[in-house]
C-alpha cells in the first residue's frame, strides 16, 4: 500500500511539473549562461537575463543607462518609458502591447518584475532604439552594437544607428530590401514593368522613384535626407564621393551577385539572421535540385542569350543567370567558353552557332518599346541556320522571364529562376 501511495504521489508530481511547463507565464526560465555585450563589452546585471517565449528579458534600467537613454517608470500605470534621441519606447509590465513613438506594436514577451527589477525584451528595446542586435547561439551571447562599420567594395562606412531612411540604387538591392521587410524611401526604377517590377509593386507604395539605375537623380536623393545609400561599384563608382557627401554610402562589387547583395542588406538593416536563413533555404533547394538532376547537369551545356536591338545577339558567360547555372553544376558550350569573355557578342547570323547549346534560354525583351528587337529575333529564329542549331532541333529553345532571369538580379528573382529550372528540367 505504501509503495502504491508513493508511486501515485510521484506520478502526480511529474504530471504537475509537465503541466506547468506548458502553461504560458510559466515558460520563463532563468538562464545563467546568457551573456549580453554592448559594443564588445559585457554588461553586468543584478538580476540575470531571463528567457520568455524565446525572448531574452533583461533589467531595463541597466540596459537603458548603457545605451545612454533616459528612463521613466510610472508606478500607477506600470509603464516604462525609454527615450533615446528621437525615439520614445513605452512598455507596460505584464502586457505584450508597446508603442514606439506612439505607434502600437506587439511584443513576443511581456515585461516582468523579478527581485525588484523590471525586465524587458532585449531585442525589441535594442532594435527600437536603432541598435544592432544579434544572437550567437554557440556562446549564448546577445550582442548589441550602437554603430556598425561595414567593409564594402569601395572602402569602409560607419553607420551610427540602424538606418530608417534607406535609398537603394540598384534593382538587386531593391529585391533584397523588400525581402528583408524594409521599405526604402527612394529606389531606382525597374527596366521594364515600371516603375517597379510586378513582383515588388505591392511593397513599394510611396517610394520615390530615383530614375535609372545607371544614372540616379542626386537631387532627388538629397531631398530624401537618407540615413544610408546602398549602391554598386559596378554602376556608381564615379559618383561614390558625391553619394558619400549626402549620406553614409555602402557599395556592393556588382549588381548580380545576389547572395552578397542580400548579406550586405542584412548587415545594414539589422536583419542578418533573416538574410542567413534565406541563403540557407536556397542552399537546401539547390541541394535538392542537384540531387534530382544528378549527373545530367554536368553533361548539359546551357546557353543563356538575348537578342539586342542593334541587330546582334549575346551569350552570357557571367552574370546572374549564369552564376546560378554554375552553382547548379551545369556546363556551357565550348565555343562560348573559348571566347574567354563574360559577354560573347554574336554580330551576324552566320555566327549563330555561337548561341547553340543543349538548351538555349532566351530572355530577349523589348525595353526600348519599339518592337525592333522582336523583329530581329524573329528574323534570326526563322532562318535555316537557327533551325539547324542542336537545341532548336531537339526542341530545347525556351523564352524565359527577363525580370527573374536577368533584370532584377536579387534573391527573390533567384528563387523564381530556380523554380523555372525545376519546370524546364522536369523536376519535382
Amino acid at each position: 500500500m505504501k509503495l502504491i501511495n508513493k508511486t501515485r504521489i510521484l506520478a502526480l508530481l511529474l504530471t504537475f511539473a509537465l503541466t506547468i511547463s506548458v502553461i504560458p507565464g510559466f515558460a520563463v526560465a532563468a538562464s545563467k549562461d546568457i551573456k549580453v555585450q554592448l559594443d564588445g563589452k559585457q554588461i553586468a546585471f543584478d538580476t540575470k537575463p531571463q528567457i520568455s517565449n524565446g525572448s531574452t528579458l533583461v533589467p531595463y534600467r541597466a540596459l537603458a543607462e548603457k545605451l545612454k537613454a533616459t528612463v521613466k517608470y510610472d508606478s500607477k500605470t506600470n509603464k516604462v518609458s525609454v527615450v533615446k534621441g528621437s525615439k520614445t519606447v513605452v512598455l507596460t509590465i505584464g502586457s505584450t502591447n508597446a508603442t514606439i513613438n506612439g505607434k502600437a506594436v506587439k511584443l513576443d514577451a511581456a515585461p516582468i518584475t523579478k527581485n525588484g527589477s523590471t525586465l524587458v525584451p532585449l531585442r525589441f528595446l535594442g532594435e527600437s532604439l536603432g541598435v544592432w542586435v544579434s544572437w550567437k547561439a554557440s556562446t549564448a551571447t546577445v550582442s548589441l552594437e550602437t554603430q556598425k562599420t561595414i567593409e564594402h567594395a569601395m572602402g569602409k562606412t560607419t553607420l551610427k544607428k540602424v538606418p530608417e531612411r534607406v535609398v537603394v540604387l540598384f534593382n538587386g538591392m531593391v529585391d533584397a530590401t523588400t525581402l528583408l521587410g524594409v521599405k526604402p524611401v527612394g529606389a531606382v526604377e525597374s527596366y521594364v514593368e515600371q516603375p517597379w517590377y510586378n513582383f515588388l509593386k505591392g511593397k513599394m507604395s510611396g517610394v520615390k522613384n530615383l530614375g535609372d539605375e545607371t544614372q540616379p537623380s542626386l537631387e532627388a536623393i538629397v531631398a530624401l535626407k537618407p540615413d544610408v545609400i546602398i549602391g554598386s561599384k559596378m554602376r556608381h563608382e564615379k559618383i561614390y564621393s558625391q553619394l558619400q557627401a549626402i549620406a553614409p554610402t555602402v557599395m556592393t562589387e556588382d549588381i548580380y551577385s545576389w547572395k552578397k547583395t542580400l548579406e550586405i542588406g542584412g548587415i545594414v538593416y539589422n536583419k542578418e539572421a533573416q538574410a542567413s536563413q534565406y541563403i540557407a533555404d536556397w542552399d537546401k533547394r539547390v541541394a535538392d535540385f542537384k540531387s534530382q538532376i544528378g549527373s545530367k547537369a554536368a553533361k548539359t551545356k546551357v546557353s543563356v542569350i538575348r537578342f539586342n536591338p542593334d541587330g546582334s545577339a549575346r551569350a552570357y558567360m557571367a552574370g546572374f543567370a549564369t552564376n546560378i547555372f554554375k552553382e547548379l553544376g551545369f556546363d556551357f558550350p565550348k565555343a562560348q567558353k573559348d571566347a574567354k569573355s563574360d559577354i560573347v557578342t554574336v554580330k551576324t547570323l552566320e555566327q549563330t552557332s555561337l548561341l547553340d547549346g543543349d538548351y538555349i534560354f532566351d530572355f530577349t525583351t523589348d525595353w526600348t518599346g519599339d518592337g525592333g528587337v522582336y523583329k530581329h529575333q524573329k528574323e534570326w529564329t526563322d532562318s535555316d541556320l537557327w533551325k539547324n542549331l542542336n537545341a532548336v532541333k531537339n526542341k530545347k529553345y525556351y523564352k524565359v522571364n527577363v525580370v527573374s532571369w536577368n533584370m532584377s538580379g536579387g534573391p527573390q528573382a533567384a528563387k523564381m529562376m530556380l523554380d523555372d529550372l525545376y519546370f524546364y528540367f522536369d523536376l519535382d
Partner: protein, 151 residues
C-alpha cells in the same frame, strides 16, 4: 405576285430567320455572338470534374499540372496532354470564382492567360512552342499567386 416570287420571298424569309438564331451571328446581342466562338472552344475542352479543397490547394494543383503538361507535350504524349488540359480546365473552373474574389486586381490577367492557354492547348494540332510558352506563363502566375496567398 407570281409563284416564284412567293417562293423566293419565303426562302429569303426563312434564310433571315436562320441567320438571326445562329449562335455565331454578329450583332446578335447575346453572349453567344462574338464571344461565342471562344466559349465554344473552351467548352470543347470539357473540363474534368476535379476535387479541389480550397483556393490554395487549387493553385498548388495548377502549379503541378502546368509542369506535367510541359512534360507531356515534350514527350509527344497526346493522350496525356489532352487529359492534363481537361484537368487544368477542371481545376480552373473550381477556383476561378474564389480567385476573382480574393485577387481582383490580378484575376483579369490570369483569366485571359488561362483562356489563351486552353484555346491553344486543346484540339488535335497544337503549336508546341506557343503552348509551352503559355504554359510557362501560367506556371509562373500560379507560383506567384501561391506565394501571395501565403503572405
Amino acid at each position: 405576285m407570281r409563284g416564284w416570287q412567293v417562293t423566293l420571298a419565303i426562302f429569303l424569309l426563312f434564310a433571315m430567320i436562320g441567320c438571326s438564331s445562329s449562335p455565331d451571328s454578329t450583332g446578335g446581342g447575346n453572349a453567344g455572338s462574338d464571344g461565342g466562338g471562344k466559349e465554344d472552344r473552351q467548352q470543347a475542352v470539357a473540363p474534368k470534374k476535379m476535387e479541389v479543397a480550397d483556393l490554395s490547394t487549387g493553385i498548388s494543383m495548377l502549379s503541378t499540372l502546368t509542369k506535367d503538361f510541359k512534360q507531356a507535350v515534350e514527350a509527344d504524349d497526346e493522350g496525356q496532354r489532352k487529359e492534363l488540359v481537361a484537368q487544368i480546365a477542371g481545376v480552373w473552373e473550381e477556383i476561378k470564382a474564389d480567385l476573382e474574389a480574393q485577387s481582383g486586381d490580378t484575376y483579369p490577367a490570369v483569366a485571359q492567360e488561362m483562356t489563351a492557354f486552353l484555346d491553344s492547348a486543346s484540339g488535335e494540332a497544337i503549336d508546341r512552342e506557343l503552348v509551352i510558352q503559355q504554359d510557362y506563363q501560367l506556371y509562373q502566375r500560379f507560383r506567384d499567386l501561391g506565394k501571395a496567398l501565403k503572405e
